[in-house]
Symmetry: C2
């Protein structure tokens, strides 16, 4: 693992930032080897993986000569510049680029907290017997609602994509936080994805637009999420079903 | 506010990202007007401010011709490139730059969650009568400890600054999350800043190094935090003091 014969991306499709990075690599046809790193089997905590990436996270990029880069947003920025992909993904124009950067930075403390906070505490943690917090999940619902307000009325106020007229790496990162919400079908309580997204028409149209722009890869990187959702629904059934909406 | 006569940065020194951006502007002597936006008085929610920045956040950059940019990390990346400051702040070399980007992206979900989660829920929210969560604060202590482990053993493992041999915008953003911990002197419970930082020698040395590199501006941008800490300690006294450590 420490001396790959070519550039390699380590990822797991159950991780939303992993989906964003692999989707980008496929959309731009970059010559990068895909290497699944199973979060379920904790491969990212193995000695071999930690030798490569001491942070033990996915996704992680390792280039042929040993350069290692963690963090999905940094990987996307780097790949876009290193491989000179179409300008719209990460525009060279400073102000346009700054808008992409601002959307990426914004998502961490808003969309990601709101969405991942629900999916972790209401589905993934309970399913795997890990500690979860209903209080954090509740707070995340409010954070997601505010994030969707900002997405609808600020980022998508006057443009079809979050940072302008064309799709960028910011669209890929942000949409993956939203698509993971389908896992909430397996939650024992709390609002569903549909309930939370329903009031936001521009967000829905943007999601369909972003998907259309990135097919057939978009569906491909979501296959495992759909299987995981089915498993979560089965788990919910075994627990006696949804207790309240 | 919508037509400034020169580039303007809106900020409040009680906000850690605001301190990072103003520190950068002063260290690099950028010709940018400083405009305090009082979070205490909710100036960022005023109609005038929201017309400029609909997200209603600080810091926010507004350039002379009306271009508006939110998000501290995006502002720092943009200013460094726009004003052609010394290369070390945001290196032109792609890999070096990617390391700075990765450190910035990393901090959102680690250092920021761990530090701001404690200060908000144990000091700022209780002091201002807003909803706080002891459960979130407890979780934040664990997140901060893991973040400090990563900072000590990964980011600072072999270099004096987080992304290399010289100071970068990532050092400014990350250190501000840590310096806010002095506010915990006013917390009714939980570990202090000193207790949490004590096990991490490289982190301590890096903080002193980063401060030395940016004085006298570093002390100047922290004056209000020191006053706020004194107020928090007074408040704690009025509440009967720290209940447990």
């Amino acid at each position: 693992m420490t001396h790959p014969q070519r550039d390699t991306i380590y990822f797991d499709f159950v991780s939303q930032p992993s989906r964003a990075v692999v989707l980008f690599i496929r959309c731009t046809a970059l010559p990068i080897k895909e290497q699944v790193t199973s979060l379920g089997r904790k491969t990212q905590r193995s000695k071999e993986y930690l030798t490569m990436d001491p942070l033990g996270k996915v996704p992680c990029l390792q280039e042929e000569d040993g350069f290692v880069l963690p963090e999905s947003c940094a990987i996307l920025r780097y790949l876009a510049q290193r491989h000179k992909v179409a300008d719209h993904w990460y525009p060279a124009d400073l102000r346009h680029r700054a808008n992409v950067d601002a959307a990426l930075d914004w998502h961490h403390w808003s969309m990601r907290r709101g969405a991942a906070g629900q999916v972790w505490n209401r589905v993934l943690a309970p399913m795997s017997g890990q500690k979860s917090s209903e209080e954090v999940a509740e707070g995340a619902v409010g954070i997601l609602e505010q994030s969707l307000q900002d997405l609808e009325h600020y980022w998508l106020a006057s443009t079809p994509f979050v940072a302008g007229n064309d799709i960028s790496i910011a669209d890929l990162i942000i949409i993956m936080e939203l698509t993971q919400l389908q896992m909430l079908e397996g939650a024992l309580q709390g609002p569903s994805m549909e309930q939370q997204l329903a009031p936001f028409g521009k967000v829905g149209a943007w999601m369909r637009r972003t998907q259309a722009e990135t097919e057939p890869h978009f569906s491909a990187v979501h296959q495992m999420l759909q299987r995981a959702t089915k498993n979560a629904i089965k788990w919910k059934g075994s627990m006696g079903g949804r207790s309240k909406l």
